[in-house]
Symmetry: C2
Subunit: 369 residues, 2 copies
């Protein structure tokens, strides 16, 4: 089963193709999309080892001329130095503006290769072949590309839409179970933002999704469709797109307070805890009932995800530390905090008037301190 | 006298204000345009020494909070390293997406600061205050920003339009005469592309322009209007914008063959020779009459600009060397060369079918070799 989700952005619209076995077809699809174009495949060492040969075999069979540029796996590659190296590799391969950059990997590769594509010769087209569940449901929609600066993550980049996304669910079979679960947290997020029926569907179909059944393709497609609808309404993040940050203010604070130590907490896990906290905080503010928060916690917990600050291994951050990270966040305006809150499952909204003391009091109840 | 040229690009339209004394008014205009915005002024050491205090005094008087980031003058600053430093400076100043980057200098500052603005937080607005004649008539229109790579000039960048351009003609009084003349060559180019009446007007008003009379403002305004019309028709350089390269294929070859040695040949001088060569080459191909080529040569020569390869001081490049640089140029397709040629003054067009041997034969007649 293959599903196609079209991200509607006028002249920059593009299809996301989701299904099993797409890697082998990638060369043929690229040759049809852009006959004669040459490709620079940007990937990391892990993806290259697991799937590089399969992608290249299909490209060679389809007559697509290509070079491969590999980076080290991990967030540290979203640096100015690696950006310069990838840009140099694309230029050394003498790719022109009508050629293609292929971002073949997870979020780090997508962000970095997308930014290189956005800026080489002032903009080359690029194709995303996301290889993590998180990248398939999150990074492949929205056009955010970029690298990190000493001052913070994702502070340098561009909005640059791909011309095609190929999400091969077979590739996900080689993902560590923990990474798969982490991506699942973002799928759940889309139900919680504004799709209560999708959340109910996930409650019924979680087992099939984790067993790589047909529901996996449908879950990815619905997630992409949900994100695409929000992005189409707000391409450059001036308004409604903030809804995508449901659970993320808490998540970023947890990641910051644990030093972005992926051994303790990966992003999707932080999002899982953040989603539960957002609903519990909304419940504390009498915005949503305790039943909604309970459903969220139960569902994410049943999927094997952490759902409370105490679930993070090692010494857990205290409330004041978390509050400090939240206050540093860019979503602070005139002494009030902006949170994505909710009136129940699938009823989230942007609240820009949250008093910091309410957050601190809530966090004190959720932490050891 | 102040003239305003509006660059019409839909939601990205912006005004270019041209006149004397604009530097002192910049702070007030910026405060009106974007109340409360903070500014990062990016400039080079020379411009800083000559005009930095005047710009900052006006900004302080208008209550505009600002920091200044200086770079070394010259093309070498269009590097990844300087880009990273400028981006870091903007982030260290904690500028947000609603704040402004001010590109205060010539083409190098405009390209570099514009690229930083295009990419910090995935896009900040920027204001250009061009301080060279070349930057006022060329870089301030079109939205091209970028840096150089080891593989070539301007190979990394973005299309990013400013929100305001302030072209202060008083600032040009401190320009070396040679830089002023070099900028004038680009003004002449606009007449030669498609404005024969403007070229005739320049023939009559050249003395007043060089004497900083009212004709200078008019010449800059007409140049900006001419470039804006071409850019509006082709914002991302897929077609008609190539007309702006009139004279530039020869110019780039001359710059490359003399090692980009600004002591021997600055860009505008190369353009002057390139404009003459383009008309002479068109005449050789029986596209335009000898009289047109003569008018171009006479006018540029009278302005004190070089008009022949032999006018370049030092050992002049031979025809084969120039031909090699032309062939390396990105405008080569299927063994044929793309040139901007002309059927007479103000009648230029894109010719994409020029046989290389015709160019070589022409160049042999124009060089010692």
């Amino acid at each position: 089963m293959t599903e196609v989700v079209t991200v509607e952005l006028g002249a920059r619209s593009y299809p996301i193709v989701i299904g099993a076995g797409l890697l082998a077809e990638a060369g043929r699809r690229i040759a049809e999309l852009r006959p004669g174009a040459r490709c620079a495949i940007v990937t990391d060492d892990n993806v290259e080892a697991a799937h590089g040969a399969a992608l290249r075999a299909g490209m060679t069979a389809a007559g697509v001329d290509h070079v491969t540029l590999t980076i080290s796996p991990g967030e540290a590659s979203k640096s100015f130095a690696t950006y310069e190296r990838v840009v140099g590799g694309i230029l050394d391969a003498r790719l022109e503006r009508n050629d293609l950059v292929i971002a073949f990997g997870g979020g780090v590769v997508g962000d970095l290769a997308g930014f290189a594509a956005a800026t080489v010769r002032r903009g080359m087209d690029f194709v995303q072949i996301p290889t993590s569940l998180l990248a398939q449901v999150d990074s492949s929609v929205g056009g955010k590309t970029g690298i990190n600066a000493a001052q913070g993550k994702n502070l340098v980049g561009a909005f640059h839409q791909p011309v095609l996304v190929l999400a091969d669910t077979d590739v996900l079979r080689t993902l560590p179970a923990r990474e798969f679960r982490a991506g699942y947290a973002e799928i759940v997020k889309y139900g919680l933002i504004d799709r209560p029926d999708f959340f109910s569907w996930l409650e019924r179909n979680r087992h099939e999704i984790f067993a790589f059944g047909p529901a996996l393709v449908e879950a990815i497609a619905t997630s992409c469709r949900a994100k695409a609808a929000i992005v189409a309404a707000d391409e450059t993040e001036r308004g409604a797109r903030a809804l995508l940050n449901l659970g993320h203010t808490f998540a970023h604070a947890l990641e910051g307070a644990t030093g972005y130590d992926g051994a303790r907490l990966v992003h999707g896990e932080a999002v899982a805890i953040g989603l539960v906290l957002a609903h519990e905080f909304a419940n504390r503010l009498n915005l949503c009932d305790a039943d909604a928060a309970g459903r969220v916690r139960d569902h994410l917990g049943a999927a094997g995800l952490p759902v409370a600050i105490a679930d993070i291994p090692g010494p857990t951050p205290d409330a004041d530390t978390l509050q400090r990270f939240i206050a540093q966040d860019k979503k602070v305006k005139r002494g009030r905090l902006t949170f994505i809150l909710t009136k129940g499952v699938g009823k989230s909204y942007i609240a820009d008037d949250i008093p910091p003391h309410e957050v601190l009091a809530f966090l004190r109840g959720k932490t050891a301190a």
